[in-house]
């Protein structure tokens, strides 16, 4: 693999801080700023570590960066940002953006995003990205100066293309279908998982009541008292253990969420292809109709019905000079059109090629990452089971001494 930025530079999002400031409308607002620390990875020949550079960015700046990358590299499956608002929460989790747990998970998500971009063979070389990491002041202006917003395709245009394109590359159609399904299934999974977590929390916490009642009961017993009391303690431990277990599981949920959002990035690439293909088809259609017009004018035959043809029939034909002029214009347009079509064709083929290469890279990454996520989930479950066995074995021993 090419030398990507991730290999040359250590990147971390190490801190999050609450800030207050004034927004564009000069109203006071509270937001969270994240500290990005970078350090060049140098060979430790003298045992010296390179100094750490740092700057603060807020979520909206990350969003700006990502938009820029999506528009500038439409053939790349651009890594997604962590969610803007807390979604798929279960009752104990806060849906509040200011909640420390949410901020913490977001910090990790943002770091992950930067690492993904930095390890992408194409994206890591982008100058704006580099400046995002290294230059705090004036970065926003620089991004806007690239004029990327102008290159952005309108949503309406994209939607139109999706419906009307005639011959998209089948692979992209399938991929789009896949990304729709993936999004749907991961959403479902995250929703149900949140409910499962909620219920499991309930089961564990109710056991805590045993602790109290065993303690009260042990007060009136002679021989049974000690056993009951100590067993009650284990029930308390059991009830308390669920908090850590579920906190760990949130990381798994975050891993799934990343791919939920990745599905959207996949879809964006497919949409771009459809748009380009539609554009190409329209250009080809336009060229064909112009050629036809030219032919008709030249030979005097009217093959297709046109209002002009009808009116000229009714009101008399134009002069040969007028016709000559028209033909000349059309011929020019046709030549232009042909050149444009050629370049559009080339563009389209290039896009398909490079996009598909990145898609293959993405697929491998996805398979690897999700497998790792499933393994870590299984490991979490195993740990939970072992803890359960431990606690109940301890309780059983206490009961046996009753």
């Amino acid at each position: 693999m090419e030398d990507c930025l991730a290999k040359k530079m250590e990147i971390t999002v190490s801190e999050a801080e609450k800030r207050t400031g004034r927004n564009a409308m000069n109203m006071q607002e509270t937001y969270t700023a994240y500290l990005i620390e970078t350090r060049a990875v140098e060979s430790q020949s003298e045992g010296q570590c390179a100094p750490v550079d740092s700057l603060w960015r807020r979520y909206s700046e990350f969003e700006l960066l990502r938009n820029y990358l999506s528009v500038t590299y439409p053939h790349i499956v651009v890594p997604p940002l962590p969610e803007k608002r807390a979604d798929f929460v279960w009752h104990k989790l806060s849906a509040d953006n200011m909640d420390p747990d949410f901020v913490e998970r977001r910090r990790i998500g943002l770091e992950n995003f930067l690492l993904r971009v930095a390890s992408h063979p194409v994206l890591c070389q982008d100058k704006i990205f580099y400046l995002f990491l290294t230059q705090e002041g004036g970065w926003k202006e620089m991004v806007n100066e690239t004029g990327f917003q102008l290159k952005a395709d309108s949503r309406l245009k994209a939607l139109n293309a999706t419906f009307r394109v005639k011959n998209p590359d089948k692979r992209f159609t399938e991929l789009k279908h896949y990304s729709d399904e993936l999004q749907s299934v991961i959403s479902h999974l995250l929703r149900v998982r949140a409910r499962v977590a909620d219920r499991l929390y309930g089961v564990y916490k109710v056991h805590g009541n045993y602790g109290r009642v065993f303690s009260e009961w042990s007060a009136i017993e002679k021989e049974m008292g000690d056993g009951l009391q100590s067993a009650g303690h284990h029930m308390d431990v059991y009830a308390a253990s669920i908090d850590d277990i579920l906190e760990e599981e949130e990381h798994y949920a975050d891993q799934l969420k990343e791919y939920l959002f990745y599905a959207e990035a996949l879809r964006a690439v497919c949409r771009k292809h459809e748009l380009m293909q539609y554009d190409l088809e329209m250009a080809a259609q336009d060229l064909t109709s112009k050629k036809q017009q030219c032919e008709e004018l030249a030979t005097g035959t009217v093959r297709t019905f046109s209002l002009k043809g009808m009116t000229s029939k009714l009101f008399g034909q134009e002069t040969p000079e007028q016709r000559e002029a028209k033909i000349k214009v059309l011929e020019e347009q046709i030549q232009e059109g042909e050149e444009q079509l050629k370049s559009k064709n080339l563009e389209g083929r290039d896009f398909v090629k490079s996009a598909w290469a990145d898609i293959e890279r993405f697929k491998e990454q996805k398979n690897h990452d999700l497998k790792e996520a499933l393994i870590s989930y299984a490991v979490m479950q195993i740990s939970m089971c072992k803890k359960g066995i431990q606690v109940w074995t301890n309780a059983k021993e206490c009961f046996s001494k009753m």
């Binding site: 399904e181 149900v192 499962v196 219920r199 309930g202 109710v206 999700l370 393994i375 089971c385």
Partner: protein, 424 residues
Amino acid sequence: SGPKSLREMPHPLATSSSEEMGPALTPSPDLLLPRSIADKDLSLPNGTPVDTSSPASSSSLLNRLQLDDDLDGETRDLFVTVDDPKKHVCTMETYITYRVTTKTTRAEFDLPEYSVRRRYQDFDWLRNKLEESQPTHLIPPLPEKFVVKGVVDRFSEEFVETRRKALDKFLKRITDHPVLSFNEHFNVFLTAKDLNAYKRQGMALLSKMGESVKYVTGGYKLRSRPLEFAAIGEYLDTFSLKLGTIDRIAQRIIKEQLEYLVELREYGPVYSTWGGLEVELSEPLEGVSACIGNCCTALEELSEDMTEDFLPVLREYILYSESMKNVLKKRDQVQAEYEAKLEAVALKKEDRPKVPTDVEKCQDRVECFNADLKADMERWQNNKRQDFRQLLMGMADKNIQYYEKCLTAWESIIPLLQDKPETK
């Protein structure tokens, strides 16, 4: 110290029935326990003969001969089992009968083995008879009589099995009791082919007497309750309160577990759906789906076990506590009656040196009751400790087994998840 002083005291009946007293004090060679004797002079206020244990002194002997733990297999001479539930469909009703098997070497039984069929009604009858005839003893509880039709299926396997276990426990507790196990009604219950005939006979006898048998005279106010019985009463109050709380907690846990199960049942299949979309991840995702399915099964088993094995025993002990408190009340009444009669005599100021017989009988009753109750409480406490030890260890075991099943499931898919397609 109670029984001791009684022994020293000249028994009002000692001179008249010394022969009958003899056997009671010397245990027969093959049995550790003395036989109960029907003491004709110990009768109810209304004159009906009562099959009670012999006077307090015998009970005290019992206590000293009684081993701390339950009789081990070698010395036990009576074994009773309840099993084989069967449904009977008649024109009037449908009901379940259980097979009651008895194996014994006791002389009170004509045969060494018996096998009869009994229905719940018969157990209920037995319990009532025991309460009547052994009012100074703690009679074990029966599972609840009435179940709301429509809410609980009286003929479901789970319900019948739960009931069977409770009925088996009931008979075993009686079997283990040194006095109750020799009760005549118990004997008939275990042996009679036609129990209904015996029941009718008993009813006829009663109707002849014109009054149903009630030991409690009622209506007397107790001056002061002996400390130990007051303590027992307080203990039982708190005990049944705590058990009630535990029952509610256990039910809540089961409810939460079932709700968790509902979500899990939706969760697992989503992984499977996802697997259908993927190529390389297909097997791992299917594996996770199957794994969650196994956890669901394990959880279902845990909840069922808790419902069938844990909750009924808790409820049994709550019922036990209730009936014990009633016995305590009866004891209070007997003592109150004695005190009242004693006071009445004291007020008469006659110079009769002898205490009237009926006051003596009251005193006997009090001391008898106290001794029997004390002995039964000790036995009950011991059994309770063992029963709860077993019950709670069982609960822990079930939870351990649940987690072990889940652990196995998750551990077994790790290699599947780590498997690389090239290595296949």
